[in-house]
């Protein structure tokens, strides 16, 4: 955003002005405050504000009158009325008079930030001129999608052409082909990138959990639920929701999902208030959804709503020219994260990799390289470091977990169990390291 958005707070209570001033300053806005309507109008003679937050009840001129005066001065300013619970009716009057919205004191921090965000995005929309709309966009954050095969180039072009739109996308491909990676790239190249991409692993949740996960629940909906909980659709407001393994959702959820996609609104579990959310949907599946529609296990109407754009990622064995690039990429990635010198790969080992089938696709290749770096001689990956024989990685003697455990143990020992230094050496944060120590039940020997 180019210029900072400016906000004027008008309220006769000191504590309200101070708190809001501090809140908006921390939020990165330019803020001023006035203790009554007269002072506010004086300020407005000198300069403009994008947003004015005015209390409805003030001695002298009240918020409604102030709003009318502001409207006669400048129609561009967004006015939000603050009201105590008792005077909601008057606030509704303000809405009829053209106020942007009203908030009831005390505010829920989440509602307040939402309200200001909505106002700010309206201002940004207004300011967005034609030149800005026409600017040439280059893809961002696709650097980590490695590959120069025709297939990958096509996927990248596809990402570029759909990112800016709001169209629903289904990403198809076998397990480990990089579906989530592509979803992130679409999000990062859309205008929604300042809002989160919220992932939901549909396959990992039971029907009742999925409902509360997606729609949230009102306080008291369950024992122990003292406060409301936002669902994933609500969290994705302004951003993207990524529904992974979409083929696994039950018929009942398919109906509910269709309804939400049509109305962009829903009700929290145990609640009755309609909540609206502006999200974009990206789904992923490794199943043939069209076939599921034909045999009746997936709703046709839902399928057509989700499948506006389909990006298919071919399996790795069909784009073997990407393998050398990927191998180098993963060597760099893991040598760096293990704080080791870069190593190379023996040509015959690479040859074998290029001929391997990779049922687990890129993820399997990635795991193989990581493992080879850990067990290898530290200079070159040899054929014997790669589990390419009859055995699959699953039944090889050393699992990745085991390797990770040993590596962490070694680093901890090296730094005498100094958590900060070990975490830095492992390039993870301390919380992650604590979690790993707990997971593997590692203990410092006396």
């Amino acid at each position: 955003m180019a210029d900072k958005i400016s906000i004027l707070i008008v309220d006769d209570e000191d504590s309200v002005r101070d708190s809001l001033l501090n809140w908006f300053l921390e939020d990165g806005y330019e803020v001023e405050a006035a203790e009554n309507a007269k002072k506010a109008l004086q300020l407005l003679e000198e300069r403009n504000f994008n947003i004015i937050l005015a209390d409805i009840k003030m001695p002298g001129m009240d918020g409604l009158e102030l709003h009318r005066r502001i409207r006669s001065l400048n129609r561009e300013t967004i006015v939000i009325i603050m009201t105590a619970f008792a005077s909601v009716e008057t606030a509704v009057q303000a809405l009829k008079d053209g106020a942007f919205d009203y908030v009831t004191k005390p505010f829920d921090p989440d509602d307040l930030s939402h309200l200001i965000r909505n106002a700010a995005s309206q201002i940004a929309l207004r300011n967005e001129n034609e030149a800005l709309k026409e600017r040439v966009t280059t893809l961002e954050e696709v650097d980590d999608i490695i590959g120069h095969s025709e297939a990958i180039v096509r996927v990248l072009q596809h990402i570029e052409s759909v990112a800016q739109s709001n169209a629903s996308v289904i990403i198809t491909g076998e397990s480990g082909t990089g579906k989530e990676l592509v979803a992130r790239a679409i999000h990062a190249n859309s205008s929604r990138k300042y809002f989160p991409m919220i992932s939901v692993h549909c396959g990992a949740l039971t029907e009742s959990l999925l409902e509360s996960e997606l729609f949230g629940h009102e306080k008291g909906a369950f024992t122990g639920a003292t406060f409301n909980r936002k669902g994933r659709f609500e969290m994705a407001d302004g951003g993207t929701i990524f529904l992974d393994e979409i083929a696994t959702i039950s018929p009942k959820m398919q109906i509910e999902l269709l309804r939400v996609l049509e109305t962009k609104s829903f009700v929290r579990v145990g609640g009755n208030r309609e909540i609206t959310s502006d999200f974009r949907v990206i789904c992923a599946t490794n199943r043939d959804l069209a076939a599921m529609v034909r045999n009746g296990t997936f709703r046709e109407d839902l399928y057509y709503r989700l499948n506006v754009v389909n990006i298919d990622i071919p399996p790795l064995r069909e784009r073997t020219d990407d393998i050398p690039l990927l191998v180098n990429h993963f060597i760099r990635k893991y040598c760096t994260s293990m704080s080791r010198d870069l190593i190379t790969i023996e040509p015959s080992a690479l040859k074998h990799l290029e001929k391997f089938e990779f049922p687990g696709n890129v993820r399997e290749l990635e795991n193989m390289i990581e493992r080879a770096i850990v067990i290898g001689n530290g200079r070159e990956i040899k054929l014997k470091d790669l589990p390419l024989g009859a055995e699959t990685p699953e039944n090889s003697v050393e699992s990745l977990d085991e390797l990770e455990k040993r590596h962490i143990e070694q680093i901890l020992l090296k730094y005498n169990w100094n958590i900060s230094r070990s975490a830095r050496a492992l390039s993870v944060d301390r919380v992650t390291l604590y979690n790993k120590i707990k997971k593997y039940d590692l203990r410092q020997k006396e």
């Binding site: 989440d110 307040l112 003292t226 969290m235 944060d429 301390r430």
Partner: protein
Amino acid sequence: MLSCGSFDRGFLKKVSGAVEDEYRCQVITEECHLDLSPYYNPARRQYDGDRLLNQIPACTTSEYFKIIGLFRVDLYIPILTYIFGQAILGRQLAIASVFRLRNELYGLKQDDDILLSRTIKEVIHELGHTFGLVHCHNLSCVMRSSTYAEEIDLKGAALCPSCRSIYLSNPTLP
């Protein structure tokens, strides 16, 4: 860091260690036996965060560059229904509470690792404000604003490169 409420020592150590790492500074943890009853608002069944923030300097006799009070109780300020914590931008003081960070309150399973990670992020975030940092749009930056507990989980525990360079160029740093 003033611990106002009975916290597990290991927990405090992990929080202060994370702050030391992020800001490359020394963190001293002091226990504070402040009587909270004068700050309780029976109508709201919460504690007044504005008055507690102002009370923080009186809780210690030592001189510190920055002070953050860590609480267990539900905090509010008059204009907001709750706060996870607050700080005065570019000044010395901040407070934070673990109360609303607990999963159980949202009908989810208790999870001590999540609680620790949320607390670390909140403390680093509020201290960031005392260093003059404002909210950041970077999705993984600890200075991104979070207004509900699970939103904290979406961001990381570290300053993004741009916030870090603002922090390092802070003229008041000793």
